[in-house]
Amino acid sequence: MSDEGDDLRELYQELILDHGRHPRNFHASPDAQREAVGHNPLCGDKLVLYLTVGEDGHIVDASFQGEGCAISVASASMMTEMLKGKTAAQAKALWTYFEGLCKGSAGDDDAILASLDEDDASRLQALAGVRHYPVRVKCAMLAWRTLESALDPAVAKKVGAE
């Protein structure tokens, strides 16, 4: 079945496998101002996201820790790379675009696409093979849902050492 092979190759392309095996920014950041925990109750996967936000509102640093499948780890790894230097609004645009990609409806909103960095957009497209696997969209979205909490001042508070 060549179609299925192609879909699997699209999902598990080299970039994803590389980020899955060697996640970037994969460490705790005890000094981060924002910290949020994401759970995927379906599989028990857990992810902790750390954000350091500068006085001007830009994300200075982003890192994560946790355990998950290649898709969720790669998604988190690539997300933390993209977040550096972004404002909360820019981060929101990334995740809105990515959510659209995962649900197969992206590209509809040209305004959002136009606001994105070209390189970010193409990297998010690499993750979008997940749209053929509806149950795996949750894996790809885990880091981004956690980002939503981390950016929401009502949800994420600076958490001290436990």
């Binding site: 079945m1 299925e4 879909d7 699997l8 190759r9 999902l11 598990y12 496998l17 095996r21 379906l42 599989c43 028990g44 996967d45 857990k46 355990e67 998950g68 499948c69 290649a70 898709i71 780890v73 696997y133 795996r136 894996c139």
Partner: protein, 404 residues
């Protein structure tokens, strides 16, 4: 080799999944249904359906006869001494919640202890925790060995004068370990402690005899033994059920109702409030009839052969590590693939028509004890064949290829 050839009895296999024949290795989550179960339910709805225990009319009498016969089918299946020891529930989870809410709330007090094992499914943990929050007893947990075994001595070591209940699984859903339930029950009874056995994963793999085992409670779900969803049973010794107050109130469970005083039916009706899943009871009876027709011994021998074959084939694969290698196991194979998360394994196998479970299998404490977040679980049923294991092995080679 024994070799059952039962796929032809199951309509679900008359299709291709992603272009491949269906290799269904997820019977531990829920088993597929033979045509005779589907036919029995359809026939019942088409000809004999009405509510039970109510009408004087013909259809209600026929439906009631079906329902009562279903109870006798479960009685025979578990070899219970009396028909009224079988309470229909929506499944094993509901049955454990019934025991916790009725027996537990009546007989457990602050300062008491109950004993579980680390292998339990969440359904045999959380109902007790919910009750614990209200009453304040202590839950003690027998540990598992690194091979997934639970040692009798580790369970009995927790028994003391405060122990009021032992509630353990017969077969681990995550690892396939068969627990020494008869010995656990004998040891508990020597100290007058009643025992609940969660038979969810056991009933489809071999014959169960609640009298020989001497269980006080035994629970199972119909859908895991080729029956419909939404139906299961609680077996309880007659003398114990009689001491238990109702679990839920409603129709069918009462003797008489006034606003001054309502009196309740005797068990099992006392615990079956509301219109029950009648067609599901018919389907369950048909499923139990189906497995009895093949013979539980024959099914057990067939699955033992598959388990041995699968264990050997998986152990020979590079980068595959079996999790749960207790000497006594039902036909469940849990494993991890080096460097590949079980969810990724599941997606790649699915594209080849192979259905497995990936995750913590609703047994997070067991996974944690083994230092794992998740495994791939293959759970075999009577319709599986050695060819299915071969397909799995080929599928796993593809996983390794993609992640190489």
């Amino acid at each position: 080799m024994v070799g059952l050839d039962a796929k032809k009895d199951f309509p679900v296999f008359d299709q291709r999944i992603h272009g491949h024949p269906l290799v269904y290795l997820d019977s531990g989550a829920s088993a597929q249904k033979p045509r005779c179960v589907l036919d029995a339910m359809t026939r019942f709805y088409e000809t004999d359906y009405a509510n039970i225990h109510r009408g004087v009319h013909e259809l209600s009498q026929r439906a009631t006869a079906h329902y009562d016969e279903g109870r006798r089918a479960v009685q025979r299946f578990l070899n219970a001494a009396h028909e009224d020891e079988i309470v229909f529930t929506s499944g094993a989870t509901d049955a454990i919640n019934l025991v916790a809410a009725s027996w537990g709330r009546t007989f457990l007090k602050a300062g008491d202890e109950i004993v579980l094992t680390q292998l339990e499914h969440h359904a045999n943990i959380v109902p007790w925790q919910l009750l614990q929050e209200q009453i304040g007893f202590t839950i003690r947990v027998a540990p598992i060995q690194s091979n997934g075994e639970v040692l009798l001595a580790d369970v009995t070591a927790l028994f003391n004068e405060k122990t009021k209940l032992v509630s353990v699984t017969h077969v681990s859903n995550a690892l396939g370990t068969i627990l020494p339930v008869e010995k656990i029950i004998a040891a508990a009874h020597a100290k007058n402690i009643p025992v609940l056995i969660d038979g969810s994963q056991a009933v489809s793999h071999g014959s169960v005899d609640v009298q020989k085992m001497d269980a006080d409670f035994y629970v199972f779900s119909g859908h895991k033994i080729y029956g419909p969803t939404g139906i299961g049973a609680l077996y309880g010794k007659r003398a114990i059920l009689k001491t238990m107050p109702p679990y839920q109130g409603g129709g069918d469970m009462i003797e008489s109702v006034t606003f001054e005083k309502t009196t309740y039916q005797e068990p099992p009706m006392r615990f079956e409030a509301g219109t029950p899943p009648i067609a599901e009871v018919v389907g369950l009876a048909a499923a139990l009839d189906y497995v009895a027709g093949i013979g539980m011994e024959k099914i057990a021998a067939h699955e033992a052969d598959l388990l041995a074959y699968g264990t050997e084939k998986l152990a020979a694969l590079d980068g595959v590590r079996l999790v749960g290698t207790a000497p006594h196991k039902a036909s469940i194979l849990s494993f991890v693939v080096e460097g590949v998360h079980p969810h990724d394994v599941g997606t790649i196998l699915d594209q080849q028509g192979i259905a497995i479970r990936a995750g913590h299998h609703c047994a997070q404490p067991a996974m944690e004890a083994l230092g794992l977040m998740a495994t791939v679980r293959v759970s075999l049923g009577l319709y599986n064949t050695r060819g299915d294991i071969d397909a799995l092995v080929d599928g796993l080679k593809k996983v390794r290829e993609i992640f190489s």
